[in-house]
């Protein structure tokens, strides 16, 4: 058991912490989650930035192109103006142009040049021409600082100007450093040239000046710089107010608040000049876009730098989506963890329960074993106690001493009986009890059981009766011992708890007995129908009204109708019997009814005080009944009585071996009574049915009457009719019919009693239940039969009555004496390897008059028992070296079988069949096992190898008697 337990424990893993249940694992998991979060977050951010960058690029390029286009438009227009001037100022003579015309024209066309704040035209004036020019214009050339110009090689005074820049009139453009360079550059290239950005006059905005050269005559395309300088007539200039222009431009575009735009002049890469935008790098620097601007000036490079004014916002999704994912993952992990944990817990619980179950089972087995062991251990000293008491009783004791010793012996026997019961129960629980299947006579078993309780019932004045339905087969195959035990238990209980009334045992076939349903049995549960006449055996109310006369009659009639039909069902192998034991005792309280079958449970603790007993009997009975394939239940009403009912399944016995304990003498008696007639005077139908049952078994015909007059009539009438042969010879009277009031009957009885010698006077037999009845009746009647009725006792009484053997009742022989009778003169072989045991056993048997021979081994025994031999019985030790008792017995049986077979052959071959009637028992030597260990060597094992029984060593009178009686009684003493 322990090993199994261990194995189971290792099979289920112990619930220690796993690696994934530690804190490290949790930290790792959380870190992993963080990493996941970061990765997703960064990815989101990166994609956001990329989108932002793409947007920036497109916006920046768009702005750059727009600006470029606008600029180009303005430059083209300026170019146009230059051509206008060259056309109308220089190619017309006189000039078709003056300041007014120019101002007007430029004013009117200003919308075409949105980027230019204004345009002006400066004429190239050489120093040689200065005076002429000044006089022609009427003003002197001034420098940018509004001072008269100092002497220069050449001048470029503004002659025409747009109104917006009229303050430029007369200013020498070449006086400003920037302008001068510009002019020279433009003159040299013939293209528009831009200045560095600078603060414009007036507006103070950042701006650049655009300069176009105006040539006098058609200049060849590949003219040199000098030729160009020569051909130059003047310069057209315009100021780009870059700052406001760009601002205007951007304002028109969407999303300009979000980005910061810078425009730089990057002609000198190392020192970019800011043309527009905040000088310090404002906004979000890491992300910027540079777009190149082409303003048409090949010498100057410009670029536009765009960036976001603010760092682009991190979208919420970059935080929420990884967070969500992490939360989900954490939840998933937790769910996995929790479910795993639950699983582990469940497994742990399962394991614990498994363990507990094992413990409980082990405890149960231990309990059973303990009970068995303790019982066995108690038995041993108890045997000593009983033996000593036995011997004490053999000695000369005075009366009171004898009484004490007898009491002690009775108690001791009761204790042994109890211990045997406990052992039985332990055996049943251990599943060691097996059901035998041997043929037995149910009726004689019931009679025997009844006789056990007859003394008690008489003492208490209870009527104890048994009734077996006619259609229950005579011989059944089953386990008589167990059946007997159940019946004994139930009757014992009933007797114990009943002070008045009756105890009735009934046996019916199950299929006929189910007529009264369970339902209507409950109707009288609370005594509601108490007014109804109670018609039971003794007239007392019973718990289960199934046994009242009404139902009983029905059963009887059923029986009668079935008797004939039964033969057709004979092939049915199984016979289910329903047995009920009804009493009118104290009953079982309702609250205790559901634990009646629990071992050691009595209705309440006072029960055991008042009535004794341990309450184990019913539980054993239940076990036994279930072992025999039946069910047990009961009905009980407190202070009314209980009825226990059980079913048992037996097999029908096909071969009718008439060998039962009634024995041959009983058969003889039966033959004597066959056809005899009696009159039964009984007021109670149930009781008369029971009496009838017993008489019927003896083959006696019964006539019932319910009152005395009719009975007397019946007797006298028959007498008168002279049909003596058929006249009832016997009158049976129930005790309670013999009341003093019935004078007539009494008189008649007295008369008969006195005229005893008259031959044809009917014999009168009184049926009494108690000792007082006996005393009362003896004066009036011939014989008193004491209840409980048994077929055999009735037979004996009837025999007595008829023969009028005036002898006192034969005393049952004292047992040891009886044992002496049984054994005296018998040849007995005792086999034991242990000389001591052998000697003791031999001496014991010799004491009872047996002729004893000894053998010291199985082999010796075999040689002594070689057929033919003289032995009547053999006592065989079980444990012997070389050949043990079982083996020896097997061989003996084998020898017997062989010789029997030979005898049969011989008988068959011999024509006259003289030896055919050879009694079979002579070839079947009764062998009894001797063993010191009752518990180890089971009875079954003894039987299996062909032994007839066993006695435990050392012999004790009682046991020896029982064992010997079993085989000697079953064997008529033919030889001696």
């Amino acid at each position: 058991m322990v090993n199994v337990c261990r194995a189971m424990r290792s099979a289920i893993p112990s619930a220690g912490r796993r690696w994934w249940q530690t804190w490290t694992a949790w930290t790792l998991w959380i870190l992993l989650m963080l990493v996941v979060w970061m990765v997703i977050h960064c990815y989101n951010l990166a994609s956001t930035m990329k989108t932002a960058e793409e947007a920036l690029v497109s916006m920046c390029d768009k702005r750059a192109r727009l600006l470029e286009d606008q600029f180009a438009v303005s430059v083209n227009h300026a170019h146009e103006l230059a051509i206008l001037i060259s056309t109308f100022h220089y190619q017309k003579n006189p000039s078709a142009m003056d300041q007014e015309t120019f101002a007007f024209y430029t004013g009117m066309t200003a919308f075409e040049r949105p980027l230019l704040t204004g345009v002006a035209y400066a004429q190239r004036v050489l120093h040689s021409e200065r005076e002429n020019f000044e006089s022609q214009q009427g003003w002197t050339i001034k420098t940018m600082k509004q001072e008269p110009s100092p002497v220069q090689d050449e001048y470029a005074p503004v002659i025409f100007s747009q109104e917006t820049v009229f303050y430029l009139e007369a200013l020498d453009m070449m006086s400003g450093e920037e302008d001068r360079e510009n002019i020279l550059m433009a003159r040299a290239t013939g293209k528009s040239v831009l200045t560095n950005p600078f603060r414009l006059l007036e507006s103070n905005h950042l701006g650049v000046v655009l300069t176009f050269p105006v040539y006098r005559t058609g200049l060849p395309q590949d003219a040199t710089i000098e030729e160009r300088a020569e051909a130059t007539a003047g310069y057209l200039g315009g100021a780009f107010d870059v700052e406001s222009l760009v601002e205007n431009l951007l304002r028109k575009l969407a999303g300009n608040q979000d980005i910061v735009v810078n425009v730089y002049d990057v002609t000198n890469i190392s020192d970019p000049l800011t043309m527009y935008g905040p000088s310090n790098s404002e906004g979000y620097t890491p992300l910027s876009r540079v777009s190149m601007l082409d303003f048409g000036d090949p010498f100057r490079k410009h670029q536009m730098v765009c960036r976001y004014s603010q760092k682009p916002l991190i979208p919420w999704s970059a935080i929420t989506s990884p967070t969500g994912l992490v939360v989900i993952l954490m939840l998933v992990a937790y769910i996995l963890y929790a479910s795993q944990k639950r699983c582990v817990m469940a497994m742990e619980d399962c394991r614990k329960m498994e363990e507990l179950k094992f413990q409980a089972e082990a405890a149960d087995i231990a309990k059973t074993q303990f009970l068995a062991t303790v019982s066995h251990e108690i038995r041993t000293p108890m045997n000593g106690v009983l033996g000593m008491l036995d011997m004490l009783l053999d000695t000369d004791l005075n009366l009171s001493q004898k009484d004490y010793a007898q009491t002690a012996q009775v108690c001791g026997k009761a204790l042994i009986a109890l211990i045997n019961e406990v052992l039985d129960r332990a055996k049943i629980e251990a599943g060691m009890l097996e059901i035998e299947a041997v043929p037995f006579n149910l009726r004689s078993i019931l009679d025997n059981v009844l006789s056990l309780f007859s003394a008690t019932s008489r003492e208490k004045g209870i009527e104890l009766a048994v009734f077996v339905s006619d259609n229950v087969p005579e011989v059944l195959t089953g386990d008589p011992g167990k059946f007997r035990q159940i019946i004994t238990n139930l009757i014992g209980n009933s007797v114990k708890f009943t002070e008045r009334g009756h105890i009735l045992v009934q046996v019916h076939l199950a299929k006929h007995s189910n007529i009264p349903t369970e339902g209507n049995a409950c109707s009288g549960l609370n005594g509601l129908d108490a007014g109804k006449k109670i018609n039971t055996l003794s007239g007392f109310e019973a718990a289960d009204d199934r046994n009242s006369w009404e139902n009983f009659k029905m059963l009887l009639s059923n029986d009668a109708s079935q008797v004939n039909g039964f033969s057709s069902e004979k092939d049915l192998k199984n016979v289910t019997l329903i047995v009920s034991v009804e009493d009118t005792g104290i009953g079982i309280p309702f609250n205790a009814q559901d634990r009646v079958f629990t071992p050691f449970m009595q209705a309440d603790s006072s029960t055991s005080r008042n009535y004794g007993g341990t309450g184990i009997g019913l539980s054993i009975s239940k076990c036994l009944v279930e072992l025999m394939g039946g069910k047990i239940n009961f009905k009980s009403k407190p202070n009314v009585g209980s009825t226990f009912t059980f079913t048992a399944v037996f097999e029908q016995c096909t071969e009718h071996s008439g060998r039962d304990s009634d024995g041959p003498p009983f058969e003889n008696v039966l033959a004597r009574f066959k056809g005899m007639k009696v009159v039964l005077l009984d007021k109670r139908p149930v009781r008369s049915a029971v009496t009838n049952y017993h008489l019927h078994r003896l083959g006696i015909n019964v006539e019932f009457t319910q009152n005395s007059k009719m009975a007397l009539n019946m007797l006298s009438q028959k007498k008168g009719s002279l049909r003596i042969g058929t006249m009832p010879k016997i009158l049976l009277i129930e005790m309670d019919c013999l009341s003093n009031a019935d004078v007539c009957l009494q008189k008649q009885l007295l008369e008969w009693k006195q005229n005893d010698h008259i031959l044809d006077a009917p014999k009168v037999i009184l049926l009494g239940t108690s000792e007082s009845d006996k005393a009362k009746g003896e004066s009036l009647v011939d014989i008193v039969i004491m209840k409980p009725l048994r077929a055999s006792s009735v037979a004996v009484c009837l025999q007595q009555a008829l023969e009028m053997e005036n002898g006192s009742r034969k005393e049952l022989p004292n047992r040891p004496v009886f044992l002496g009778n049984l054994l005296s003169g018998k040849n007995i072989l005792v086999v034991d390897d242990n000389k001591v045991n052998l000697r003791v056993a031999a001496a014991t048997l010799k004491k009872y008059g047996a002729k004893v021979e000894c053998a010291e081994s199985g082999k010796d025994a075999l040689s002594l028992l070689t057929l033919p031999h003289k032995f009547d019985a053999c006592f065989m030790d079980v444990q012997m070296p070389e050949m043990d008792g079982f083996e020896a017995t097997r061989q003996i049986r084998m020898m017997e079988n062989e010789s029997r077979a030979q005898a049969r052959i011989k008988a068959a071959s011999s024509p006259n069949g003289f030896h055919r009637e050879e009694p079979p028992h002579e070839q079947h030597l009764p062998i009894l096992a001797m063993t010191a260990d009752v518990i180890l060597t089971t009875y079954e094992e003894c039987l299996k190898c062909g032994m007839n029984g066993y006695v435990s060593k050392p012999f004790d009178n009682e046991q020896l008697y029982q064992a010997v009686a079993r085989f000697v009684a079953s064997k008529p003493i033919a030889g001696s």
Binding site: G384, A841, A843
Partner: protein, 150 residues
């Protein structure tokens, strides 16, 4: 010596034996089996028992001293001794046998030796007590008395 004194001594002795558990009811039965036809029955049986037990104890010692102990054999021998002891009513020897059997079933060699020692002790005690008893009996018989009933 006075017969009555001897008889008294005998009774004291035997009742002490019963009281101390050396003897049980079986011995009384043996005594009862002794009658005129077999006057020395008890002595005879007890002597048989002495021989048998002596032999068995020696055998046991030998069996247990083997390098490989055959517990089945030991068990059988102890069982046999137990059987004899029960038959003779030697209760304490029987009890020692029972202990021995238990040890033997467990296969505990050391305990077996312990049991064997105990068994020997019990047996020697028993033997000396019984021998003393028989001496008194002989004295009683020699003095012409008969054994008292107990």
């Amino acid at each position: 010596m006075d017969v009555r004194l001897l008889q008294r001594q005998w009774v004291d002795h035997i009742s002490a034996l019963f009281r101390e558990g050396f003897l049980d009811a079986q011995f009384t039965r043996l005594q009862k089996l002794q009658d005129a036809s077999t006057p020395d029955f008890v002595v005879e049986v007890v002597t048989l028992y002495f021989e048998d037990a002596d032999r068995l104890l020696n055998n046991l010692w030998n069996t247990l001293s083997q390098p490989v102990v055959d517990f089945k054999k030991v068990d059988a021998q102890v069982h046999r001794l137990k059987g004899s002891s029960v038959s003779i009513g030697a209760q304490r020897v029987k009890n020692a046998c029972v202990c021995f059997i238990i040890c033997c079933e467990e296969g505990d060699l050391e305990a077996c030796f312990g049991c064997l020692h105990r068994l020997k002790l019990e047996f020697t005690q028993w033997k000396s007590k019984l021998e003393a008893l028989f001496r008194i009996e002989q004295q009683i018989v020699a003095a012409g008395g008969s054994l008292p009933m107990i």
